[in-house]
């Protein structure tokens, strides 16, 4: 039985420093999805990578206090419902999925109607979903040792 789970001290300290930057980078890629390559899915994958880094560095038992799988399920569904709400709000403008917000100037951050908002919804969904998948996979060893 190992007393200390996770990786060595160096990895743990570097992970503590770097995870926040990775998360911010993921959110940046998702927000500028309508201007540069990226968008919601790529941002969500990077955000989930931050969570995966925490689990790898600290061990799945210890990181379970930070990120629970049920929270991932809830945020996942909330992201999907957010996207669906944006689509249903199109009925305000007259048709399903209609882009009813103002288009704005091409090339600025606040442009393209509700496309940045839908990128945010997809960011939440993909990030939480992939983190949940990884937590479910890493739970297998736990459940076998508990059986």
């Amino acid at each position: 039985m190992m007393k200390k789970t996770g990786m060595t001290l160096i990895v743990k300290n570097v992970a503590k420093l770097v995870t926040a930057f990775i998360a911010v980078f993921g959110i940046y890629i998702a927000l500028t999805g309508h201007l540069a390559p990226g968008g919601g899915f790529a941002g969500g994958v990077i955000l989930a990578a931050a969570a995966v880094l925490m689990v790898l560095a600290f061990g799945s038992g210890a990181s379970r206090k930070l990120v629970k799988e049920s929270q991932c399920h809830t945020w996942d569904a909330a992201g999907a419902l957010g996207f669906l709400a944006i689509a249903l709000c199109g009925y305000i403008g007259g048709s399903f999925f209609l882009n009813f917000l103002a288009p704005g100037d091409a090339g600025t951050l606040v442009s393209g109607g509700w496309i940045p908002l839908s990128n945010l919804a997809i960011l939440v969904k993909v990030g939480a979903g992939l983190a949940g998948v990884f937590l479910a996979l890493s739970a297998f060893r736990l459940s076998r040792s508990e059986e």
Binding site: T74, D76, A77, L81, A87, G90, S95, L98
Partner: protein
Amino acid sequence: MQASLPLLVAIPLGIAFTIVIVAHVRGLKALAGALATLAVIANLILSLYLLGSDEALSLYIGRWGPSGARTLGIELVCDGLTTLMLIVINMVALVSIVFAGPYMKRFTKTWLFYSLFLLMTGAMCAVVLAGDLFNLFVFLEVAAISSYALVGFGCESEELEAAFKYLILGTVGSGFILLGVTLLYAMTGHLNMARVAEVLPSAGLTSPAVLLAAAALLGGLALKAAMVPFHAWLPDAHPSAPAPISAMLSGVLIKAAGVYVLARLVFNVLGPVPEYATVLMVLGAASMVIGVFLAVGQWDFKRLLAYHSISQMGYVVLALGVAAEILATGGSTAVAGLCLFGGLFHLFNHAAFKSLLFLSSGSIEHQTGTRLLKEMGGLSKRMKVTSFCTRVGALSIAGIPPFNGFVSKLFIIVGLTMAGHPILATLAVLVALMTLLSFIKVQRYALEGEPGEKIEGVREAPVLMCVGLLLLAGVCMTAGLATGTIKKHVFDPARNALMKPTVSSTEGVSE
């Protein structure tokens, strides 16, 4: 009425995700089943309401209508065939979800079941509503992925093995469908089905590139529809799934994701060319014959039903193939219409009686704990409602006169004879006789006789399960007696939609 078309997809998807959130809030877990049932009832009411429109409805999402040369928007099309498929999907989904209430009590995480079930239903509705090829592919994948997860839901070793095999084969099929869509896009530059149908003749309906695209598409879709060279996943996947999921898979998924897309592509997009018609006829005839020969010797009730699904889908695809051949060679449209009506009516009937049979096998398994015919016996005395419904289902699938299976098989056989294929008609009659034989075996071993030692004290199934069974039995009985009215309102628009050259009219922007 057009603005309500996306709701058929949005309601199941929205409630699926709401169930996930609700299940994690303490104390609201029991709501999951009720929410799911409400979603399916709303869908069914909406699809019955759509019966009232006389002409094809078309909606461009987000008002991205056709502009100049390119049609960039996603189009939702609802013509007669779509309405028929929507009614089939939502009817079977409603009965399955009512049945699943008591049945799923033996599993944990039932909120996950309801969520995946609604995802599958919503995705299948989107498949039949799709007006362009890539949207069709995406929702086909969503429905397929939900069904892979649902087949392995109980996590027993057999269920996982069957689910894994189904997953690998299904993914290969989807890969080939995407390959076909890619090649069609490369040759025509459009994804919208109506536009592809317009542009394709100028690229050559039987040029080698189009033949390659059609081969990839037909191969992938034959795998989804469980036609004979590609049927290996079905006898393992359908019995291993929980009973409501077997009913949905056999009753709806192989139709909405397999046969419907085959019919739509061959008739409305690729054009009823003699080569594709021959392929459909060969696939249909082979599935019909081989399915029933493999089914007769089975002693596991659900596995027998799964093999019969292959055989009955062979009937439908054979009828579609013969109709395509008649339209391709310029024969009589009345005979083609007859074959199409027989095929589509058999599709509807098979959804009704196969789901009924799978649900009653689930009811028997829930009460007695066994699926093997030799261990059952004497159920007609102990489980009156279930055995009555099993008898109705068995008589329907065997083609006995007042029930619906007789009418549709009669139309298919008459259509085959009038189209000039007496050998195929004789094969169809032989297959019908063997179906009757295997269901006489089912009735003799499961319902008549004396009870085996294992099932001495069985009682009737819970009320909700019996309600579901009785609903489908009612559909089987009325569809046979009221064929004329149903034909005029539901099947004639569906048949006309297939015989027209393109999917929808794209003049101007529709809202």
